[in-house]
C-alpha cells in the first residue's frame, strides 16, 4: 500500500482496475482448471473402470478353464485404450500373474503392480490404479488390476494452463489499455485542477481558471474551485484597493500631523522663549526692590517680595523644563553603544554633590549597555534617579537601585527606590505632562520630567511603565530598543 501512495491518481486507478480484473481472472481460471482436472479425472476413472468390468467379465471363463492364452488375448483388447499402461489378472489367492498386458511391450513388464489394491479407482501422482474383482456366480475367482498413466491428463492440463496464460496475458494487455483510457478521463481534470491550483499559489495570479469538463463530481469540484477563484480575485482586488486608499489616507494624516506637531512645537518653543524675558524682568526688579528698598519695607513687604521671587524662579524652571521637552522632541537621534552603569554613576555623583546632607545607598548593576543616544539617555537617568532621590527624602535609610531585569518578555532596565511610591490606580497618569501625584509641599517638581522621559523612550522605540505602592517604593522599567 505504501507503493500505491507514491503513484499518481491515473496510475492508482489503472492499478486498481488491473489488480481487480487480474484477481477475478486468476480465480476464475483456477476454478476452471480445478474443475476441469476433477472432471477429466472422473471421466478417465469411469472409462478405465468400464474397461475393467468388460475385461473382467471376459476373463471369467479363461480363469475357470485355466486358459492363460485366451486371458492374455482378452487383456490385449485393452490396447484400444492408450492410457492403459499395464493390466494383470491374478487367480483368487494367487500372487503370481495369470495373464498380463503391457502397452509398451515386454520392456514394460518391469512395472511392478502391487499385489493388493483396494477396489475401485486409486489416483497416485502419475498413474491411476483400478482393481476389479472377477466373480463367477457371485464368488470371487480372481482380480484384474489396471494401471493407467495420467500423461493425457497432464498434457491436457498443460495445454489448458497455456491457454489460460495466453488469455491472461491477452486480457492483461487489453485491460491495461482500457483502464488507462478510463483512468485518464478521471485523472486528467484532476491533474489540470492541480496545475491551476499550483499556478495560483506560486504566482498569486487569481485570474487563471481550471478548464471545466464533465458533469461528474470532478466537474463539480472544478466548477466550485473556479467560483472560489472568482471570489478570491474579487476580494484580492477589493483588498488592494482598500489598502491603497488606506495608505493614501495614512500618508495625508501623517503629513498633516507632522505639520501640526511642528507648528505646535515651534509655538511652544517660541512661547516659552518669549516668556523668559518678562520673567527675568520681574525677578530682576523684585531683586532690585529687595536690595535697594529692603530696609524701608516692613517684614511682611519683604516676605511678599520673596514670594514673588520664588514664584518667578519656579516659573523659569517650568519654562526650562518645557523647552527641554521640546528639544527632546526636535533633537535628532544618534545611537551609539553606551555604558549605562557608567552614566548612572555620574548622575548619582552629581545628585550627591547637590545634596551632600543626604545619605542614599546606591546599587548600580555593572556592565549595563545599550545602543542609544547618549545625551538623551543621560536625561532619562537624571530624571528617574532624581525622582528616586527626591521621593526617598523622607526615608531614614534611602536605597536606590539601577539594573536590568533578565526575566520577562523583554530585557528591561529599571530604577528602583524605597521611597514614597504611588497608588497603582493612578499608574497611567504618571507620564502625562503637568500630572503630579504628590502635593507640591511634600515633594517639589514641575510634573514634566516623566513626560520627557517617556518622550525619549518612545523616540528610541521602547516602552516605559512603573510598579509601586503607597509608601512601598516605586520601580520604573524602560526599554530602549524596538522589540526584535
Amino acid at each position: 500500500m505504501r507503493i500505491l501512495r507514491r503513484l499518481t491518481i491515473g496510475q492508482k486507478l489503472t492499478s486498481i482496475a488491473m489488480l481487480s480484473s487480474f484477481a477475478a481472472l486468476v480465480s476464475a481460471s483456477i476454478a476452471f482448471l480445478a474443475y476441469d482436472l476433477h472432471t477429466i479425472r472422473q471421466s478417465l476413472a469411469r472409462r478405465i473402470l468400464t474397461d475393467a468390468q468388460i475385461v473382467g467379465f471376459n476373463s471369467v471363463s479363461p480363469l475357470l478353464f485355466n486358459d492363460a492364452e485366451t486371458a492374455t488375448t482378452t487383456l490385449g483388447g485393452l490396447r484400444a485404450e492408450p492410457a492403459i499402461v499395464a493390466a494383470i489378472v491374478r487367480g483368487q489367492g494367487d500372487a503370481r500373474p495369470f495373464a498380463t498386458y503391457f502397452r509398451d511391450g515386454p520392456s514394460g513388464a518391469r512395472l511392478a503392480l502391487p499385489a493388493h489394491v483396494a477396489p475401485g479407482p486409486v489416483f497416485a501422482a502419475d498413474h491411476l490404479l483400478v482393481s476389479e474383482p472377477i466373480r463367477f456366480e457371485g464368488r470371487p475367482i480372481g482380480t484384474l488390476v489396471i494401471q493407467a498413466d495420467l500423461a493425457e491428463i497432464h498434457s491436457r492440463q498443460r495445454r489448458y494452463a497455456g491457454i489460460v496464460l495466453a488469455v491472461l496475458g491477452g486480457s492483461f494487455v487489453l485491460a491495461l489499455g482500457i483502464s488507462r483510457l478510463m483512468a485518464k478521463t478521471i485523472s486528467r481534470p484532476i491533474v489540470r485542477l492541480a496545475d491551476t491550483a499550483r499556478a495560483v499559489s506560486s504566482q498569486k495570479d487569481y485570474s487563471v481558471r481550471a478548464p471545466a469538463e464533465g458533469r461528474d463530481e470532478i466537474g463539480l469540484l472544478v466548477g466550485t474551485f473556479n467560483e472560489m477563484l472568482d471570489q478570491i480575485q474579487r476580494q484580492d482586488s477589493d483588498l488592494k484597493e482598500a489598502r491603497a486608499d488606506l495608505e493614501r489616507r495614512v500618508d495625508t494624516r501623517t503629513r498633516d500631523l507632522a505639520a501640526a506637531n511642528k507648528e505646535l512645537e515651534a509655538f511652544s518653543y517660541s512661547v516659552s522663549h518669549d516668556l523668559r524675558a518678562p520673567l527675568r524682568a520681574i525677578d530682576g526688579f523684585s531683586k532690585a526692590v529687595l536690595s535697594g528698598y529692603g530696609p524701608q519695607l516692613d517684614e511682611r513687604g519683604r516676605h511678599y517680595l520673596e514670594r514673588v521671587r520664588a514664584g518667578t524662579q519656579r516659573m523659569a524652571q517650568l519654562i526650562d523644563d518645557l523647552l527641554g521637552l521640546a528639544r527632546v522632541s526636535r533633537r535628532q537621534l544618534v545611537r551609539q553603544r553606551v555604558n549605562l552603569s557608567e552614566v548612572a554613576g555620574q548622575v548619582a555623583a552629581e545628585l550627591a554633590r547637590r545634596q551632600p546632607s543626604r545619605q542614599v545607598r546606591l546599587d548600580v548593576q555593572p556592565g549595563l549597555s545599550a545602543e542609544v543616544d547618549p545625551h538623551l539617555l543621560t536625561i532619562v537617568l537624571e530624571n528617574l534617579m532624581g525622582n528616586a532621590w527626591k521621593f526617598t527624602g523622607k526615608k531614614a535609610e534611602a536605597h536606590v537601585e539601577v539594573g536590568q531585569r533578565a526575566d520577562g518578555p523583554e530585557p528591561a532596565f529599571y530604577v528602583r527606590d524605597n521611597g514614597a511610591g504611588f497608588d497603582m490606580e493612578y499608574a497611567d497618569k504618571l507620564f502625562g505632562a503637568f500630572q503630579r501625584l504628590h502635593a507640591d509641599t511634600d515633594f517639589e517638581g514641575t510634573g514634566i520630567g516623566l513626560a520627557t522621559v517617556q518622550r525619549i523612550v518612545a523616540r528610541h522605540g521602547g516602552r516605559i511603565w512603573a510598579e509601586g505602592g503607597v509608601d512601598k517604593g516605586a520601580t520604573f522599567y524602560f526599554t530602549l530598543e524596538r522589540n526584535p
Binding site: S61, L64, F65, N66, A68, R96, R139, I141
Partner: protein, 186 residues
Amino acid sequence: MALVGPLRSVTFALLVSLLGAASPAAPEPPRPTEYEVKAAFLYNFAKFVKWPEDRSLGPTFVIAVMGEDPFGEVLDRTFAGKTIQGRKTEVRRVRTPTPPGDLQILFIGSSEKPRLAQILKTLEGGSALTVADMEGFTERGGMIAFRLRSDVVNFDINLDQVERARLKMSSQLIRLARNVIGKGGL
C-alpha cells in the same frame, strides 16, 4: 488311467474355489492331477451350457461315465452337493446309453472308442452333452474333446453337434476351444 505330471498351480486355485475346499493360504499345496482338472472342467462346462427345459431334463441333473472310468471318486467329490440349472447333480456309471432325458452329460471312456458311432447314434434326438478323452472325438460326432498339450488341459468343440442336441453353449466357452467345428468355427 494315466496320471500325468504336475499341472499349473493356478488350476489348483480354481479347483479350490470350485470345491469350496480348504484354506488357500497353504504355502505349497499339492498340484492337482489331470483328472481332478478334467472333473472340474466337466462341472464348468455345465455352467456355460444351457439345456432345454423339456422332457430331456429330469428331476436330477445326471453326469454319467460310460466304459472305463478314469476319474474314480474324484468325479463324485467334484459334483457332490452341487446344483446345475436348478437341479441336484447325480453321478452314474453306465454301460449303455440310456433313453433321452435320462442323462445330461455323458463322458465316454476311451474303452468305448470302437463302439463310438453306435453310442452317438443312440443319443440322437436327446440333449446330452458328450465329452471324451479320445483323439478325433469331435470329428467323429462328439461335442467336446479333452486335449493335453504340455501339461495344460484344453478342449475342442463340435458346435454342429451341440446345436443339434438343442444345447445353448456360451460364447465364453466356445472362444476357449482350440478347435471349433461347425458354425463360427475356424
